[in-house]
């Protein structure tokens, strides 16, 4: 078993549920071929650096897993058949230095997966938005008044 990282870009034209379903299907491809998923980290919808199949955006998803080297070709074959995928990148983490980096990234991904449960309160934002909108209105009125007075 060797450590691999699969980065997958899913089509942006799908709905959020369909994207989640296709991500699950991708993870199943890995597990069904004898891979063990260590961690996953969704990078979310991002703008692509260049259009792929006329798509400007894409949903990025990273899967860290340990897979037998012989199974990689089969997994990549399945990825190529999948039409929901725009692009996939498979990277091997083999040397000691790379393995250490791999473990670090897996822990980071696990922590990131736990973190979003603590949501920041969204109550403060409306008040913050209201306050600036009021002040410019006063400022804009004042110059008009002075101009009128000057004329």
């Amino acid at each position: 078993m060797r450590n691999y990282e699969n980065l997958v870009i899913v089509k942006p034209t799908l709905t959020a549920e369909e994207i989640q379903a296709s991500v699950k299907a991708i993870e199943e491809v890995i597990t069904s071929n004898g891979g063990e998923i260590a961690a996953t980290s969704p990078m979310g919808m991002r703008k692509l650096a260049y259009p792929i199949e006329k798509n400007e955006r894409g949903y990025y998803h990273v899967i860290y897993s340990s897979i037998a080297p012989s199974a990689i070709s089969e997994i990549e074959r399945r990825f190529r058949i999948n039409e929901d995928l725009l692009r996939f990148v498979t990277i091997k983490y083999d040397t000691n230095r790379e393995k250490a980096a791999f473990n670090g990234m897996v822990e980071k991904a696990k922590k990131a997966a736990e973190a979003p449960k603590v949501e920041t309160p969204a109550v403060e934002t409306p008040a913050a938005v209201e306050a600036p909108t009021e002040t410019p209105a006063v400022e804009t009125e004042a110059p008009v008044a002075t101009e009128a007075a000057a004329e």
């Binding site: 980065l7 990078m43 703008k47 790379e98 250490a100 980096a101």
Partner: protein
């Protein structure tokens, strides 16, 4: 000295930071070794050592495949702030 050097020969920034591993997903960190047109900057201009230049060139090529960094930027296909996704 027939021609004045445009760039001063510098030390390797990655050696100073003791970088052992680069992550291709962190596209903002690759910016230092990319030119305005997103070409890989040569070692003689950035001052990178051979070891780190080899690392960065592999990492940039991976990031290009993953559409995190553009291959080329031309006048017709201008990339508007490709690192805007990063915070």
């Amino acid at each position: 000295m027939a021609e004045k050097r445009k760039y001063k020969k510098r030390y390797c920034k990655y050696c100073e930071a003791k970088v052992d591993f680069m992550d291709y997903k962190d596209a903002g960190a690759l910016r230092f070794s990319l030119s305005e047109r997103y070409k890989i900057m040569p070692r003689r201009l950035t001052g990178n050592c051979k070891r780190h230049q080899d690392m960065i060139s592999v990492v940039i090529k991976r990031a290009r495949a993953a559409a995190l960094v553009p291959y080329t930027v031309t006048r017709k296909h201008v990339v508007t702030a490709p690192f805007e996704n990063l915070k």
